[in-house]
Symmetry: C2
Subunit: 409 residues, 2 copies
């Protein structure tokens, strides 16, 4: 496949215009949208306004006058559209970690006779870390961690909660949300889904799939900016049953009555805790607004094509260099990134960055390329693999400077 | 006292130059710095750079290249100087609410035979709400809430933790940190101090006062912007003893090793949980940098003078209108705001806002004026009381539009 052929695919891409909504540095192929999405152009302008006018001029009045106080619900409702949920089932708050703590501790107490929180070995580690702490908060609870292929059979009569990441952060493997949620439910367990590597790229139908509880990340495919606040989802029928253990004034039924007694807000708002970081909240809203007019199914179709192109080009051009694709070939079994195992994944990743292709190293031996259908094109994929092939063929990655590790790898 | 006389005080104020570091809207007297500090001029410029260059151009590389990953510790160390702590004893993370949850659940478990978390009735309500949830996470724990004058005698053999707000959000009353911390300690209890209405205005000497645990707010006197991340303090000798129940990857000893097992980071970093909201973090750092060159004792001396001027002018000019000062007259017993009780506090507050003086209504009957010594001057106080006197004398607050309540009051 020639570069001309892939450029023709870009020209025919019905989603091509969305790329113009983003600032992509000249010459850079950014395949790291699943670690930090690029800057939407509208965000830069919007942040100036939020800082210089809403904060600078309107000051405290902006909580009412510029809708700051409603932001968690308003942005949540916009995310709901992207994940197949109803507007009042999603709220933006805190981080994925903190939201997981809220959901685990609240949901586990609904079934006090069941004591296991089951998760996957090799799950994104913050999920396991927060789970290991959250079980300490609920009498008798314990964390069980099983290899991926034993998770389903691990659901038993003592399983209280199943905590799974929908798309695996490293391999991109995807769980079948509907089937597994139903399987767990049939065994009397509830499932919490982590959508961090799904929301904004992979089709999600939380309501249709019977999902009851979920969290997700704002700074990856949602383009909300570094460390953007996260979201959480609670199905309508469960909201009033859950009593948050981690609770605060923003989740109170009447936060400005300043009463000593805690009375949870109706619905999803009870999962708010402290005051939200408005500058970061506002950037998240701009990021999600960049999806306006895009249908998730069309985005997913494009993601799958970009993935297939990547995989095919690597096969054609990088054979014999020891790259082993660890992401599923079938679109319905994977997310929106493609990962390769290689003994020198770290050095290859660094050499690629120096060559203007940003992917992610994931310890100990994986290089990962995020495919963001909203702003990436076919030529990007072609150029990325071209530079990867050159890096491997030339052995440029052996330069000692590419083995120097930063704090964040 | 004439306006000329107060202007002379401004001219002689050695801290006057700090005002130039802030953007204060023309004609506005902003006495709400203890709800949301004003915008530092440097922040506007810095935020553009963070959004447009660090995020927009450097993208994911900024975690290393622009020091994002060290921000919680770096900003924490800057706050430490303002509160009398050592640099490695303070870290920036999450919200006050979430940080309280972390400290309560971790510290309570150090003394499993003691079951009471004692706090003050009428404490800032999020402190009571989060405490009421956190005690559910620790077997046998309960929340005891006593009137302020009974708190000291309420410390008993079953008291595990004492949770107090150093300066009361409504009245401005200040607890004696050193004496009470020692009193609790002698009874075998640990104290958690909430410094939200202290940090950046009131002198704090956490180390000297033997404080072991504290949290505080970034968006009030620290000028960190709306919903700025909060901070937490743990005295060096306690850090390694505490095992956070709410834990996540950013508090792991090796977050980028992606290991399933949780191993807390050495020292204060273990109290990080998820990824920090960098845009809001960065604004907080700029806000704290605006203190550079200011000594806390000098700031406090000025705060006390501004307070005294306010109180004296109100006595002289607003007598007979039913305002009752609820803040202590003695500087060492109070914080940096002055509050008045009035049957129509809400309407008076709204009328004052319309007259260009922003204070805070605090339910059910208090109007509160925050005195931010870093950027307020003597003339500001004079003008504020002048407009207050006019509002009361004219009865302009009786206009029905001033009784309309927003979501945030």
């Amino acid at each position: 496949m020639t570069v001309e052929e892939v450029c023709a695919l870009d020209a025919a891409d019905p989603l091509r215009a969305f790329r113009e909504r983003f600032f992509i540095p000249e010459g850079l192929i950014y395949l790291d949208g699943n670690s930090l999405g690029v800057l939407p152009r509208a965000t830069a302008e919007r942040q100036r306004k939020v800082v210089e006018l809403e904060w600078g001029v309107s000051l405290i009045r902006s909580w009412n006058d510029h809708g700051w106080i409603d932001a968690p619900q308003r942005i949540g409702a916009k995310i709901a559209r992207l994940i197949g949920a109803r507007p009042h089932e999603v709220i933006v708050a805190d981080s994925v970690t903190v939201n997981l703590f809220k959901l685990i501790t609240a949901a586990a107490r609904l079934a006090p006779d069941r004591h296991a929180l089951l998760s996957e070995a090799g799950n994104f580690h913050t999920d396991l870390h927060v789970a290991s702490g959250a079980v300490e908060a609920v009498p008798g609870m314990r964390l069980e961690v099983k290899p991926r292929h034993q998770v389903e059979e691990g659901i038993g009569p003592d399983t209280n909660l199943l905590l799974l990441t929908h798309v695996h952060y490293k391999t991109g493997e995807r769980f079948e949300m509907g089937r597994i949620t139903a399987l767990a439910k049939a065994a009397g367990a509830r499932t919490i889904w982590d959508l961090s590597h799904s929301a904004g790229a992979v089709p999600l139908r939380l309501n249709e799939d019977g999902a009851e509880l979920a969290v997700g990340c704002g700074y990856k495919y949602l383009n909300g900016g570094p460390g953007a606040p996260a979201f959480l989802y609670v199905a309508e029928h469960l909201q009033e049953q859950l009593a948050p253990m981690l609770r605060g004034w923003m989740g109170h039924a009447a936060p400005f009555d300043f009463t000593d007694d805690y009375l949870p807000a109706p619905g999803i708002a009870r999962f708010l805790a402290g005051t939200p970081p408005m500058l970061s909240m506002s950037a998240l809203e701009s990021g999600i607004d960049a999806f306006e007019g895009a249908e998730m199914d069309a985005l997913w179709e494009k993601s799958a094509r970009l993935f297939d192109l990547f995989a095919r080009l690597v096969e054609q051009r990088c054979g014999g260099h020891g790259l082993e694709c660890v992401s599923p070939p079938e679109a319905e079994r994977r997310g929106s990134h493609i990962s390769y195992r290689h003994e020198h994944a770290f050095e290859i990743c660094q050499a690629l960055i120096a060559a203007g292709v940003i992917g992610d190293f994931r310890s100990p031996d994986v290089v990962r390329f995020g495919i963001t259908p909203l702003y990436l094109g076919y030529e990007d994929i072609w150029q990325a693999v071209d530079r990867l092939a050159q890096t491997l063929e030339s052995g440029s990655w052996r330069d000692p400077r590419f083995s120097v590790r930063g704090k964040v790898t």
